[in-house]
């Protein structure tokens, strides 16, 4: 056994500062790792900045999306693992905007692979059968012809394999598959399922009645 003096013992006690720094580094590492893991594989929060999904989602809503329902996307690849199910007609999905993948869009699934989609005078037809989602709204009575744009008259088009046709619930003010095409399976980020916060920026009030509302 080595003898130590008072001074040595004193110095030893002061070296505890270094271990505090190390503890901080370890704690910060775990905080970042846990946050990243949850956001990547479990749930991710999103905020709504536009009215394309009104009245289902309004500007200022904050929602959670499941990252695993349609399969966990393997980072840096297009493949998915542990899929629970495929998207279904009526699901509200979040996906990377095909024309600028740095942006996320949120829309409702209207058609899946093999479906034929057509719109005639605002009425959606899937495989020739009229499809009206209970959440869709039309805020403009004006009908646009096919020559004026695809908003009210579109298709028919057949959805290719591994792709989805999506539309906003606010049909007259949504920039969706009618304008830019299909969403690839690999671009789907998650399935929106609940609103956890809602802030009305105009009145500066919390919309308490929207908190905890499930997104269907």
């Amino acid at each position: 056994m080595t003898d130590i003096t008072e001074s040595q013992a004193l110095n030893h006690s002061l070296s505890g500062k270094h271990s505090t720094m190390r503890d901080y580094a370890v704690t910060i590492f775990w905080a970042i790792a846990i946050a990243l893991l949850i956001r990547t594989f479990v749930i991710q929060p999103f905020t709504i900045p536009s009215g394309s999904m009104e009245d289902t989602l309004v500007v200022g809503d904050h929602l959670l999306a499941s990252k695993f329902l349609y399969g966990i996307r393997v980072p840096f690849t297009d493949s998915r693992i542990l899929k629970i199910r495929d998207p279904r007609r009526g699901d509200v999905i979040i996906f990377r905007y095909p024309e600028d993948r740095s942006k996320d869009f949120i829309k409702r699934v209207i058609g899946g692979p093999g479906d034929e989609i057509a719109i005639r005078d605002k009425q959606v037809f899937v495989n020739g059968i009229p499809y009206r989602n209970p959440h869709e709204v039309h805020k403009e009575s004006l009908l646009l012809s096919r020559e004026q744009g695809p908003r009210d008259n579109f298709g028919p088009v057949r959805v290719p394999a591994g792709s989805w046709f999506v539309m906003g619930d606010n049909r007259d003010r949504s920039y969706d598959s009618r304008f830019w095409g299909f969403v690839r399976n690999a671009d789907i980020v998650g399935a929106a399922f609940v609103t956890y916060w809602s802030w009305d920026g105009e009145t500066w009030r919390v919309r308490w009645n929207r908190i905890g509302k499930s997104i269907v």
């Binding site: 004193l10 006690s13 704690t27 956001r39 749930i43 709504i48 942006k103 920039y175 929106a192």
Partner: protein, 59 residues
């Protein structure tokens, strides 16, 4: 090694008193707070919460 070395009976007590006096003199309240484990864990939990709930816009 000093074979004749014999620590005084109150060696530990004297060292601890000096350590305490020195720490109290050198370490500010803020430093003491930041080096405490509960504070560090609370900070980590807060950071994780903000990290998880930092919402991304979906248009």
């Amino acid at each position: 090694m000093n074979d004749g070395y014999e620590p005084s009976p109150d060696f530990t007590a004297r060292v601890m008193k000096r350590v305490h006096a020195l720490e109290a003199e050198r370490i500010s309240l803020m430093e003491r707070l930041t080096s405490s484990r509960p504070f560090r864990y609370a900070l980590a939990c807060g950071g994780t919460f903000i990290g998880v709930f930092g919402a991304v816009p979906a248009f």
